[in-house]
């Protein structure tokens, strides 16, 4: 296990920075942004920006956590990667949320942010290498002190052990000497057979605090002199607040101020209760919009009208799909549609800010630290080094916490009031001013060959652009790559295919939502495959397998989930089964859903779900299972009940009772199995929900229900 100097040359050597901590100790950085960093050994002082790992002379070992914990488990999986190579126990690592620095950029996302199932994949190589480099240096420092060969020493649980088997030196005593050594040219990563943490279920480090109420989310930030604030925004899309009456609000005890801010009218109070009463007493008028465009029927009609309009951006093309479709005697065609959805994080949006002439500190549950800093910079005009973003735990993210509206509220108010301010969004604010999962329409067309397999395949996606607002540089020639994920690069052998996107923006802000458009497109593609199988009179599993001859991993998850679910066994009368496959993030998942007649009252219920996931190497297998179980609940919630709609320019859903989320008694029995068919990890956070909706739609049709082509699905 020791460094033999024969391993692969460190491909990130130029990106590693070694330094001496002020006060002694070792600091190791990984520069994600700039490979032409200066000298390796530089004395880092104080704050040590860019540090990933610090070994203090008092024995503390600190890992900077550069990703946000929103339930997906990065507070355990990322430490596992470092601890494995550093030869320390998870209990020996302290975590600190990373500030904003170029070194913490998520290279898969191109910014310091958490999402799109990237965290473990992105950290897999650099965090293990950082641990290995630190361990190598510590072993060398010990060997030098003892006058023995480094190869003969062993590192274990935070200490280097002498070849005599008795003497040992703790890392704390070696950190300073190690920091003065040159960076190793090569390090050897542990072979999988020697892993003690990676691949073994671990108890999550954040769980103990979460079961005693000690976990700290954004809403739990308490600062001396902190005021509470909330902004009433105009509920009418495309309109602004035109008049407001605040006398009643101001007269309430505990209300400190009511003032106009950039995005609406802010109520400021001494506690949240006074704040909520103030919000209720505040009257806000909006400019009447004579003809509100945010109307459900109009928006849906607008998208539908683009299904056959001329002109669309080409996302993928192979063979002559259009020609084959034009020549075919029989073309199968189906249109699908998906509604707007809200994120509904259980922790409402919030941010706490402190702003002075010299400094701005933001305490925020965010998925996008770099954007939060940019927001504060734009509002305060302060230089970036004077702005600090402190990431709290997130009570859910799902893409909503990439947004900056709540950060902007807090920074603006803290600056105006000269006091720390916690901005709290109410649940109604959260529904009314979300950046929703987009409404989309889809047209699918296909021909079947004599073998009953699809030959020509056409898919047009119509919907508003998500990235035009969030990452405009990514949209070119009318193509928003985020809208076609899961429709292109399908695993299936489709000899002639054409995938198009027709942009149709709507007067409603749309954003990232768990799984992104992959969640739309997997539903559509898998549902259409199920329809093709029915038309061709083929078993939907057999049809998929026939299209996946060159895809052993995809075949394996499908075959395994079918075996688990007893796919070949006959079903009881009135029951139905559906199957679906999803790929993405370097992973694959297949699910079978079984529906059964309800005991009373007619209609169907979701009886069971089987899930087989291949995420390559599962760093924490129990964490992967948890993501699948939770993902199935999340997918089922969206497939069965969730829908945001607009009438006369306003969101119709005002409270949780208006937006049907899955509840405990609706959770089906779930069986999850992992297959590990690759040596590196794939992402899982967005994966679990993907096959649920199409598998459920297929199960309903198989049970004799009608073929439904719009979400949410009806079980009755």
């Amino acid at each position: 296990m020791t460094d033999r100097g024969s391993g692969p040359r460190l491909n990130r050597r130029a990106l590693l920075k070694l330094g001496l901590l002020a006060g002694g100790g070792l600091v190791l950085g990984i520069d994600a942004a700039d490979a032409t960093e200066g000298p390796d050994a530089a004395v880092a002082t104080g704050f040590a920006p860019g540090a990933w790992l610090r070994l203090h002379t008092d024995g503390r070992i600190v890992l900077m956590l550069a990703r946000s914990e929103m339930g997906q488990g990065v507070t355990s999986t990322l430490p596992m990667l470092v601890a494995e190579e550093l030869e320390v126990g998870l209990d020996q690592l302290d975590l600190e949320p990373a500030p904003v620095a170029s070194d913490y950029v998520n290279r898969l996302l191109g910014e310091q942010a958490t999402g799109c199932s990237t965290s473990v994949r992105e950290a897999w190589a650099p965090l293990r290498e950082a641990g290995a480099v630190a361990r190598t240096l510590l072993v060398r420092a010990a060997a030098a002190r003892w006058g023995v060969a480094a190869e003969d020493c062993r590192a274990r649980r935070g200490a280097v052990h002498h070849p005599d088997g008795e003497t040992r030196l703790d890392y704390a005593a070696l950190a300073e000497a190690a920091a003065r050594l040159p960076l190793p040219e090569r390090v050897t990563l542990k072979p999988p057979a020697q892993w003690q943490l990676i691949g073994t279920p671990q108890h999550r480090l954040d769980t103990p605090d979460k079961v005693v109420g000690a976990a700290r989310y954004g809403l739990d930030v308490r600062l001396p002199g902190m005021l509470y604030a909330s902004v009433a925004r105009c509920p009418l899309r495309g309109a602004r607040v035109s008049a407001w009456r605040a006398d009643a609000a101001r007269a309430l005890p505990g209300v400190v101020a009511v003032l106009a801010v950039r995005h609406g009218i802010a109520v400021v109070a001494r506690d949240t209760w006074s704040l909520l009463r103030g919000r209720a007493a505040l009257e806000v008028d909006c400019d009447p919009v004579a003809d509100p465009a945010a109307d459900q029927a109009r928006m849906e009609a607008r998208l539908r009208s683009r299904l056959d309009a001329r002109g669309a951006a080409l996302a993928e093309s192979r063979g002559d799909a259009l020609g084959e479709l034009a020549r075919a005697e029989q073309v199968l065609e189906a249109d699908y549609s998906l509604p707007f959805l809200a994120h509904v994080c259980m922790e409402p949006m919030n941010c706490t800010a402190e702003v002075s002439a010299e400094r701005c500190v933001i305490h925020v549950p965010t998925q996008a630290q770099q954007r939060a800093l940019a927001t504060a910079r734009r509002i305060t005009g302060l230089a970036p080094e004077r702005i600090e973003v402190r990431t709290t735990l997130l009570g859910g993210g799902f893409g909503r916490r990439v947004e900056q509206d709540f950060v902007a509220d807090a920074v603006e108010l803290a600056q105006r009031l000269g006091q720390p301010v916690q901005v709290v969004w109410t649940r109604a604010d959260d529904f009314a001013h979300d950046h929703y999962r987009p409404l989309t329409c889809h047209r699918l067309r296909a021909t079947l060959g004599e073998d009953g397999l699809p030959r020509a395949w056409y898919h047009r996606i119509v919907g508003p652009s998500v990235l035009a607002r969030l990452a405009p540089e990514a949209v070119s020639d009318g193509l928003d790559p985020a809208l076609v994920e899961g429709a292109t690069a399908l695993p299936y052998a489709l000899p002639a295919r054409r995938i198009e996107y027709r942009r149709a923006d709507l007067p409603v802000s749309v954003g990232l939502w768990r799984g992104g458009a992959r969640a739309h497109n997997v539903y559509v593609v898998e549902s259409f495959l199920d329809e093709l199988a029915a038309t061709a009179g083929r078993d939907p599993l057999a049809l998929r397998l026939a299209l996946l001859e060159d895809r052993p991993r995809a075949r394996a998850v499908l075959e395994r989930v079918a075996a688990l679910a007893g796919w070949s066994q006959p079903l009881a009368p009135g029951h139905g089964r559906g199957i679906a496959l999803a790929t993405g993030y370097g992973s694959l998942v297949a699910q079978v859903v079984e529906v059964a007649p309800r005991a009373e009252g007619g209609g169907l219920r979701v009886a069971r779900v089987w899930c087989v996931v291949d995420c390559g190497l599962a760093v924490d297998p129990d964490g992967v299972r948890a993501q699948m179980e939770g993902g199935i609940a999340f997918g089922l919630s969206a497939a069965l009940g969730e829908r945001i709609s607009f009438a006369a320019g306003r969101v119709e859903q005002r409270r949780l009772a208006d937006y049907r989320l899955l509840r405990f008694d609706e959770m089906p029995e779930v069986e999850v199995e992992l297959v590990e068919a690759a040596a590196t990890p794939g992402g899982v956070g967005d994966l679990g929900p993907l096959p649920l909706a199409p598998a459920l739609a297929a199960a309903i049709a198989a049970a004799g229900g009608e073929r439904q082509r719009a979400l949410p699905l009806r079980l009755a």
Binding site: V211, G395, F634
Partner: protein, 157 residues
């Protein structure tokens, strides 16, 4: 200003000089430093704010302080003296929490259930737990953890 409210909080008698109309949730979170009880909706629809009032689960977001006067309130911080309530231990073994935000409400609801029905039937578990939303979908694990806590002899690892 207002009359003092006397109540017992996590076993300690106390007198609060707060607006008797203030929901218990905000007294706990903003005035007493007990932030373990969560705000999810403020309208009695998510269960994140569940506490015990004389042992019964209630939504603290809709319970005015005056309704707690003279009674005993238990929050997640007071569920056990050392964080070792059988449910808390089962929650750790089963790795229930994801983001964790709903879990105080889940645990308080489950604790009230087990206090009333030490060996709950699946239907009793459904009835007790369906009022607490979990957006992360930890429901399957919640069920397993409740069954584990209710049957320690079956799960002795």
């Amino acid at each position: 200003m207002d009359a003092m409210i006397s109540l017992t909080l996590n076993g300690e008698p106390m007198r609060l000089d707060l607006d008797p109309d203030m929901p218990l949730l905000w007294a706990l979170r903003d005035h007493l430093g007990l932030t373990g009880t969560r705000y999810g909706c403020g309208e009695g629809e998510c269960g994140a704010c569940t506490v015990h009032l004389d042992g019964q689960p209630v939504h603290s977001c809709t319970l005015p302080l005056r309704a707690a006067a003279g009674r005993s309130v238990t929050t997640i911080e007071g569920l056990s003296p050392d964080g070792r309530h059988p449910l808390q231990l089962a929650w750790i073994v089963e790795e229930v929490p994801q983001c964790g935000y709903c879990q105080s409400g889940q645990l308080m609801s489950a604790a009230a259930l087990l206090a009333a029905h030490p060996q709950p039937t699946p239907e009793q578990i459904d009835a007790a737990m369906s009022g607490v939303l979990c957006r992360c979908g930890s429901y399957a694990r919640i069920r397993r953890a409740i069954q584990r806590a209710a049957n320690p002899e079956v799960h002795n690892d």
